[in-house]
């Protein structure tokens, strides 16, 4: 498939390129060729016409010149003398000179009766009477007749005067005697080959200009007579054709009617030729009784050789151009067709569901429409791929979602039935709540009553608290009295301490006194022995009293400590009493607040009762609402069933979608 597409689009493009290349080429070539051909034809015709004219003039000049020379010779004294004296041999060098210079083949002298007197070519004196002129040639005889009768120089047509002789023509001029009468005729023979060579182009062939003339190499000019026979040589016919070959009389009869012209025809060998023709005009110039037609021909093929060359060159050029066109066309076609083929292949792939296709960009910077097309295709394909992918993903997601929805729907159905049963339960519960609220109403009334009694009790509590506060105040006073007493006690112990110090001092002094007494006793010696004992006793007493004071002081210290403790205890007691007062005040406040709260709760209980009434009516409404909810739930159940059906069909659709998307290759 891919091959055939390549072929077709490539081939089409290449053919189009070919056609676009070849049509103007052929047209131009053909136009050029035919225009050139026409121009060339005109040129060739013009050329040969002019050549024809030139040759004609040359031939006339040639003939006239020979005729005049012959006339001049005939009128010389030497000729007359020669004839008179019959000294032919003496004249021979002059004849030979003439023959050489003017190209005469022979100079013949005839007498007035038509007998041959002398022939320069054979250097023979003829017996004028023995030789019959008629025997020699009718052409000379005819000429002689004409000259004699007209007494003017005359000329014959080109003839074969003898068998196997070269074609030649003769000119005759009258030789006048001194008396003024014609007594001889001088005839010269000129070979037809002279004219042939005169009009031949051989000499021109070497020149440069000759080569420039189209068809020059093949061009030839010849003369034909009124009998349509060749008078000069023709390359086409060979030497033997002179006076034998008959040219197309139809054409040249026009020339005989003094019409010159050009035409295209076919020669004896069947080749196409171009020809120009005209009447030489001998009758007008030298009064002959005949005339020639001069014809210049050229081979058409040869003449148009350059054209042919041009044609070939044009064809070769065209061929080259076509090859070039082919190459460029192929290249261009490839440039255009290849991406299109790729693109088409990708599009086929796309059509088959393969979205991975991406056209390889041989030239990513290509900015023309094809480049843009490819890039756009790639971008589009990419986008499409992405979209397909997302579509696939979405499909998968959709299936998952549907599954989930399906599950949810089942759950919903279950929930709906559960809800239905729950609603029944709720309805029952509402009934129960109704009953409960009735009970609550009763309870609230009870609470109101009991809160009233609580309020009374709290008032009693308040009174008791006030009494307690009074008692505590009394305790406070007592505590203050105790504190004062303790302080007094503390002061009294101080005075006791002073007394004790005094006693201690006395003890100390009595101790020293006892020591001094002992010293004195020692000084007294034996007499002081008794006194020494007394001093000892005094010392013992002072020691005892010291110890006693010490004990008293210790006891006193204990008392002081105890009183300090008592003072601190009373202080603490005072503080505690203050706290007790505060606490009892707080208790009073608390009882107050309690009383207030009880009142509030009593009011609240009343409100609860009222609310319960409202609740009861609300419960009735709720019951009705539950009934309607139950109806709605039934409808829900039905709806869920329908939803399940819908989900099933949706699932089937999603599966189909998945199957479709799965067939794409991404």
């Amino acid at each position: 498939m891919f091959r055939s597409i390549t072929k077709s689009i490539m081939a089409k493009l290449i053919i189009q390129f070919f056609l676009v290349g070849i049509i103007p080429l052929i047209g131009m070539g053909a136009l050029t060729y035919y225009l050139s051909k026409d121009a060339m034809k005109a040129e060739v015709f013009q050329n040969i016409a002019s050549i024809n004219t030139i040759k004609k003039v040359q031939v006339i000049e040639f003939v006239k010149d020979r005729m005049e020379n012959l006339t001049l010779l005939s009128r010389t004294q030497q000729i007359r003398d020669m004839i008179t004296n019959q000294t032919y041999q003496e004249m021979n060098p002059i004849f030979e000179y003439y023959m050489k210079v003017f190209g005469y083949s022979d100079i013949i002298l005839l007498n007035e009766s038509g007998q041959t007197l002398y022939s320069a070519a054979v250097k023979k004196e003829y017996d004028p009477f023995s030789e019959d002129l008629t025997k020699t040639t009718s052409a000379i005889k005819g000429l002689w007749d004409k000259v004699i009768s007209s007494e003017a120089p005359m000329m014959t047509d080109i003839v074969r005067y003898q068998k196997n002789a070269e074609p030649a023509f003769f000119m005759g001029a009258p030789v006048y005697a001194d008396t003024g009468e014609v007594f001889a005729v001088l005839i010269c023979q000129i070979n037809a080959a002279r004219i042939s060579s005169l009009i031949a182009d051989t000499a021109d062939k070497k020149t440069f200009a000759a080569n420039m003339i189209p068809g020059r190499s093949n061009r030839e000019t010849y003369i034909i007579g009124s009998d349509s026979l060749l008078r000069t040589k023709s390359a086409r016919s060979g030497n033997d054709a002179v006076l034998k070959e008959r040219m197309d009389p139809g054409t040249f009869s026009l020339a005989l009617a003094h019409i010159s012209g050009t035409e295209k025809n076919i020669d004896s060998q069947g080749e196409k030729i171009l020809s120009a023709y005209s009447l030489v005009g001998l009758q007008n110039t030298i009064k002959t009784d005949f005339d020639w037609t001069i014809v210049t021909i050229v081979n058409e093929k040869e003449a148009f050789a350059l054209l042919e060359k041009l044609k070939i060159n044009t064809f070769v050029g065209m061929g080259l151009f076509l090859i070039l066109v082919g190459i460029v066309g192929t290249f261009q076609s490839r440039m255009i067709a290849k991406p299109i083929n790729e693109l088409s292949y990708r599009i086929i792939q796309l059509n088959d569901g393969d979205f991975t296709a991406e056209v390889p960009l041989s030239d990513p910077t290509r900015n023309d429409e094809i480049g843009m097309l490819l890039r756009t295709f790639n971008d589009g394909s990419k986008k499409f791929r992405h979209q397909m992918k997302s579509l696939l993903d979405s499909t998968n997601l959709l299936i998952e979602s549907i599954t989930r929805i399906s599950t949810t729907a089942s759950q919903l159905a279950t929930s709906a039935s559960e809800t239905s049963s729950s609603i029944s339960e709720v309805t029952t519960t509402v009934e129960e709540v109704k009953q409960t609220s009735q009970i609550a109403s009763e309870k609230a009334e009870y609470v109101a009553q009991s809160s009233d009694s609580t309020a009374r009790i709290s008032n009693a509590g308040k009174l008791s608290t006030e009494n307690t506060m009074l008692g505590i105040e009394r305790i406070k006073d007592e505590m203050n009295a105790i504190a004062e007493s303790t302080v007094q006690l503390s002061a009294q112990t101080k005075s006791i301490e002073d007394i004790i110090n005094t006693v201690s001092d006395i003890a100390d002094q009595s101790n020293i006194l006892s020591v001094n007494a002992a010293i004195e006793a020692a000084k007294a010696g034996e007499h002081g022995k008794g006194f020494s004992v007394v001093a000892q006793e005094v010392k013992s007493l002072s020691t005892q009293s010291k110890e006693a004071t010490n004990q008293v002081r210790e006891i006193l210290n204990d008392i002081q400590k105890a009183t300090s403790t008592a003072v601190m205890a009373t202080e603490r007691g005072t503080k505690t009493v203050a706290q007790a007062i505060e606490l009892s005040e707080q208790a009073g406040d608390a009882i107050d607040r309690l009383s207030n709260r009880v009142t509030e709760s009593s009011e609240a209980a009343m409100q609860i009762t009222a609310s319960n009434q409202q609740q009861l009516s609300g419960m009735d409404q709720l019951s009705q609402a539950m009934e309607s909810i139950n109806d709605a739930t039934q409808q829900n159940l039905e709806g869920v069933k329908q939803l399940e059906d819908a989900i099933k069909s949706l699932e089937a659709m999603a599966q189909t979608l998945k199957a479709i998307t799965a067939s794409y290759k991404i």
Binding site: N511, V515, N516
Partner: protein, 179 residues
């Protein structure tokens, strides 16, 4: 109740017995051994010293009256006192003996030492009383003692009472200060 009464009775009995023990005096002078000396015990800082009664004139309580300090005297001379119209210089033995805790307690009594040439008072922290010792009981001074103290010590009793040499103190040239 009976038990409590009995316990209280037990305690009272115990107290009475302790007191009796405290009051009971042991008779030291029952068995005299050799020569007997009579000394006055007194306390200096934490140690108990004793001086023979031979040169003691009297003991005088200082009470609140502190000795009047005399400028330009060495540190061991505390000052002077007025003893019944008589001016007597007072020496602080604690300072003199370089005893520790020189200023602890208040020296409440002054022991007046006198000989025919010399008379001065010694500060004592407390007077213990007059006691008699057997000379046999007095040991020589401890070999560990050294310095100023050693010169003025006669000996040490078994009870650890240091007996000072009153003669040496009275005749010591250091005590005589010339201004």
């Amino acid at each position: 109740m009976n038990e409590e009464k009995q316990a209280a009775g037990g305690i009272a009995e115990k107290i009475l017995k302790t007191r009796a023990d405290q009051l009971a005096r042991t008779n030291h002078s029952q068995k005299p051994r050799g020569k007997q000396i009579t000394v006055l015990e007194f306390r200096l800082a934490h140690e108990i010293y004793a001086i023979e009664l031979t040169h003691i004139r009297t003991v005088h309580p200082l009470k609140e009256k502190k000795p009047t300090h005399i400028p330009g005297t060495p540190g061991f001379i505390k000052g002077i006192i007025n003893l019944r119209g008589e001016i007597i210089s007072v020496v602080d033995l604690k300072h003199f003996f370089n005893l520790l805790d020189q200023d602890s307690g208040h020296s409440s009594q002054v022991i007046i030492l006198s000989s025919k040439d010399m008379e001065f008072g010694i500060l004592s922290d407390a007077i213990h009383g007059v006691t008699e010792f057997q000379t046999a009981d007095i040991h020589d001074s401890l070999p560990t003692l050294a310095g100023v103290q050693l010169e003025y010590i006669k000996g040490v009793t078994a009870n650890g009472v240091v007996i000072l040499d009153d003669e040496k103190l009275l005749n010591d040239k250091k005590m005589i200060i010339s201004l």
